[in-house]
């Protein structure tokens, strides 16, 4: 039985695979490929690295938000991806970037399948709690499984990754690797969320009704959870590649709050929101570096303000303003502004 609902979706909308926001996000990520070739400033290179890793990790939250699920599991899957890469490169001397990227995506994605079968029956606060508990368990396992993970010392001294036999060891090359991983993650996320946008929208609106109308909600939830895990794994790869160390503290459970914040503050309705959120907040953290301890409080204030007065986040507010300036009335609910390929809502 074909459980998708292609008949209800006009072919021309299905054909416009990427929305306007997707194109803008992909263009911005593409532009970052220029930075390793044009800048040797360590600050610029490091900052771009951090922004791209944050944005890639936040994609895991964004994908699950398409199903109205708030996931705290991003650091868990980042850890699986990151440690997989560290183990492959240190124990098996596998350093080819393509092989490592495939492993960093597939390992968390495969782990997510049985996990998803167990926990995707839950929704609302129960899903939030189970993903939070899962992240705590993974963190404890990283400490307890010392022979494999190095315990509290982590895995130190990873060799540099290679592309076509060439070592990507210095700062610009490390950034180049991150750019590639981020671009790949944004492409996967854009294609995946846009291709199944009507199914995801149906589940987000009312999963029980969608299921009663013949949509196999569990299938789409499992796919989304798996892809979100894979994308998070790629962020984990980029993180351990930047640090040349896989350490449990890099995947602390509370770091999931940061990824959620990037998504919400940027705008959870479009992929551009995660990128803008990461860009603004990672830059703000750097800007406030002199009083670095203030940045969590700043995050907290931003979360409260955005949740209360601008549910659509930065992208939602700007899109709303653009609609008004253009004299259109999109009549979209808060947070769902999406200029789209043809100005349609990302549905």
């Amino acid at each position: 039985m074909n459980n998708r609902v292609p008949k209800s979706v006009p072919a021309e909308i299905r054909a416009s695979l990427f929305s306007g926001h997707d194109w803008i996000a992909l263009a911005i990520v593409s532009l970052t490929f220029v930075i390793p070739f044009t800048s040797t400033n360590p600050q610029v290179l490091s900052q771009t690295n951090l922004i791209l890793i944050a944005a890639t990790a936040a994609l895991g939250v964004y994908i699950m938000q398409r199903l109205d699920l708030m996931s705290f599991a991003v650091p868990s899957f980042m850890a699986i991806g990151g440690y997989t890469v560290a183990l492959l490169s240190m124990k098996l001397q596998l350093t080819d970037v393509f092989v490592l990227a495939a492993a960093a995506f597939l390992m968390p994605a495969l782990c997510a399948i049985p996990l998803g079968a167990l926990i995707l029956r839950l929704k609302g606060v129960y899903f939030v709690l189970v993903t939070f508990v899962l992240t705590e368990i993974v963190q404890l396992l990283l400490f307890e499984a010392g022979p494999i993970t190095g315990g509290s010392n982590g895995l130190v001294g990873m060799p540099a990754v290679k592309i076509f036999g060439m070592e990507l060891w210095d700062n610009p090359h490390v950034l180049l690797t991150t750019c590639g991983l981020a671009f790949f993650s944004f492409i996967i996320t854009s294609v995946f969320t846009r291709w199944f946008r009507s199914e995801f929208a149906a589940i987000e609106t009312n999963d029980v009704l969608a299921e009663s109308l013949g949509l196999a909600a569990w299938k789409y939830k499992a796919m989304a959870f798996s892809v979100a895990a894979g994308v998070s794994g790629l962020a984990g790869f980029a993180l351990v590649n930047m640090l040349l160390t896989a350490h449990p503290s890099s995947f602390a459970p509370m770091s999931s709050v940061n990824y959620i914040t990037y998504t919400i503050v940027g705008g959870k309705a479009s992929i551009l929101g995660t990128l803008i959120g990461a860009l603004l907040l990672v830059s703000a953290t750097d800007y406030f570096a002199l009083s670095g301890e203030m940045s969590p409080g700043l995050f907290g204030l931003l979360i409260i303000v955005v949740t209360m007065v601008a549910r659509g986040g930065v992208v939602g507010v700007v899109s709303g303003l653009l609609y008004r300036l253009a004299g259109q009335s999109p009549s979209l609910k808060n947070g769902d502004h999406d200029l789209g390929g043809n100005g349609e809502k990302g549905q």
Binding site: M70, K123, V130, E136, F299
Partner: protein, 288 residues
């Protein structure tokens, strides 16, 4: 055998502390349908208020505990009335604002008191001995205070009109409102009661365990464990689960060592969430 009994006493002591934390947490979920990510923040801030009153201002410790409870109750009231109330219908928004408020609280503590853990000793020292069984007086006092607070909460929830009103709202909010329950007053009251309990627990417990700006993270995690195990929204379930968690933690720390006890608990809770989301004593899954 003596070690086994002494560990059991520590476990019961931990259980009473977790009960106080979990009661507040579960009251908020049961009545408002909100998972309060700021709960650990109220605990830590209560500890710091007590530290400020007792160590910096030199006020008596019982007064410092009272101040911690009242100030956290007031802060909780204000937070519910002016921030949470505006987004109460949207469960994701309530998660976000409580999470944001926790970050603001943790940062405020860090800015005011610094990252260093302050010296905040319990005013009573000494150990009670019976044969080979040792039990610190501090733990006995905290145990007694926590038991008194638990009895007070039970009396309030099950024997007063306010408690009946709160329970009615947790059962069926629309019907309770139609019958004249004033949600505008009872919601902030329930929230203030819960945060006051968290603040009081922080004031009582942090001199024994630890006082630092980020201890709220682990408190939040253990509050989650307890209420999930007992059943979100179930007062009796939370109480039973708190003692189970306290005993498992104490025995695991002594007989297993490391973080295996915490790992066991988290794994147990994960299984419970998957096979019985309503917990041990919860009656139904509430979709907040």
């Amino acid at each position: 055998m003596e070690s086994f009994i002494a560990t059991g006493l520590i476990g019961i002591s931990l259980g009473t502390q977790y009960t106080l934390l979990a009661l507040g947490f579960t009251l908020i979920f049961g009545i408002l349908g909100v998972v309060n990510f700021a709960h650990g923040g109220f605990y830590v801030m209560g500890g710091y208020v007590a530290y400020y009153c007792n160590v910096i201002l030199g006020l008596p410790y019982p007064f410092a505990v009272l101040m911690a409870m009242l100030s956290m109750a007031a802060l909780g009231w204000l937070f519910e009335a002016f921030i949470l109330e505006r987004v109460i219908e949207d469960h994701q928004a309530t998660l976000m604002v409580t999470m944001g408020f926790y970050l603001v609280m943790a940062t405020a503590i860090l800015m005011i008191f610094g990252a260093e853990s302050p010296q905040f000793p319990f005013p009573v020292t000494g150990v009670w001995r019976l044969g080979g069984i040792y039990f610190p007086y501090a733990n006995m006092i905290v145990l007694g205070a926590c038991l008194a607070a638990i009895v007070f909460v039970y009396w309030l929830v099950y024997r007063t009109n306010i408690g009946r009103g709160m329970r009615a709202m947790s059962e069926d909010l629309p019907v309770a409102s139609a019958l004249g329950m004033r949600t505008k007053a009872l919601f902030p009251f329930a929230f203030a009661l819960a945060t006051g309990l968290a603040g009081g627990t922080g004031a009582l417990v942090t001199p024994i365990l630890a006082l630092a700006p980020h201890v709220g993270d682990s408190v939040l995690a253990f509050s989650f464990l307890t209420v999930i195990l007992g059943g979100l929204g179930s007062v009796t379930g939370a109480t039973c689960a708190a003692f189970i968690v306290g005993l498992i933690e104490a025995y695991a720390a002594v007989y297993l060592g490391g973080s295996k006890g915490a790992l066991t608990l988290f794994a147990l809770v994960l299984i419970i969430l998957v096979v019985r989301p309503q917990g041990l004593l919860g009656r139904e899954v509430r979709r907040s």
